[in-house]
């Protein structure tokens, strides 16, 4: 991983030097870095590991998924608040996660708590089971479970 990054930086420096400008221009360096990304991507197989920006891309994807979930579920919650009669059936349900490390579990709990309509109330000391309070379990449990597995997949792509 660091080897790829260092190679990329090296290519950027070389690029800057080859331009033979009077003084150091940051824009040239950035251009060189972008060219370097292309080169490193083409030869990342030879480092024997995945492309180092792949993780960054996965993180961006996680962020996008999170934002879309946030908007969808906020809309649901606001709709419930504004409906003339509040007909919600809240409940606490158990969810066993397949994530393992501390960082992954924390990230999942945080994303889940930020999404309106669900709060993580308890995490077992082992860190493999969540107790989630859903605002409207009867109707939106399916949706919650679906977004949970989406989050899990996206988080795993970032950390593994």
């Amino acid at each position: 991983m660091p080897a790829q990054f260092l190679t990329n930086l090296f290519i950027a420096f070389l690029w800057t030097l080859f331009q033979d400008e009077d003084y150091f221009k940051f824009t040239t360096f950035v251009t060189g870095y972008i060219v370097g990304i292309g080169i490193v991507y083409l030869m990342h197989r030879f480092f024997g590991e995945r492309f180092y920006l792949g993780r960054f891309y996965a993180f961006l994807k996680l962020l996008l998924i999170f934002i879309s979930e946030l908007i969808q579920s906020s809309y649901l919650v606001l709709k419930h608040i504004l409906s003339p009669k509040i007909r919600i059936k809240p409940g606490i349900f158990k969810y066993e996660t397949i994530l393992e490390s501390d960082v992954e579990v924390t990230a999942l709990a945080m994303l889940l708590t930020l999404t309106p309509g669900s709060v993580v109330i308890e995490v077992t000391p082992k860190g493999d089971t969540f107790y989630i309070h859903g605002m409207d379990v009867e109707e939106s449990k399916e949706m919650l479970l679906r977004s949970l597995s989406k989050f899990e997949k996206a988080i795993m792509e970032v950390t593994r």
Partner: protein
């Protein structure tokens, strides 16, 4: 209508939506039946409201006077990091303090686990 007017319009739109959401989530805090459902309205919809407002302010400063306010961005990040922790801790403390769930609650899978634990600790 030039670019900066359009950008200003978008920034104002963000702030307006943020303000409306803040009002709605305040109404939600009053209307919902128990602390757990209230925390849904209180901690999260209002987080989104604050985020939208800050984002609107950020966009406004960037487009009108070309000032990239790092402090606003930091505000967004920190609200994002801290508010779920607060929400989790409040509901968790409430559950541990045996605050009653609303009457409409249909399932509670945590109760058995916690009771068993307390029983085994009591022995």
């Amino acid at each position: 209508m030039n670019v900066s007017t359009i950008a200003e319009f978008i920034a104002v739109l963000f702030m307006l939506i943020g303000a409306i959401m803040a009002v709605i989530s305040a109404i939600g805090i009053i209307r919902f039946p128990d602390i757990y459902t209230r925390s849904h309205a209180g901690t999260k919809s209002s987080t989104l409201a604050v985020l939208l407002t800050l984002l609107g302010a950020f966009l406004y400063f960037v487009t009108t006077i070309g000032f990239v306010s790092v402090r606003l961005l930091l505000g967004i990040i920190f609200v994002f990091i801290t508010s779920p922790v607060a929400g989790h801790l409040i509901t968790r403390a409430a559950y541990r303090a045996k605050v009653k769930l609303a009457d409409t609650t249909i399932e509670d899978e945590l109760a058995d686990v916690l009771n068993e634990k307390e029983r085994s600790e009591g022995k």
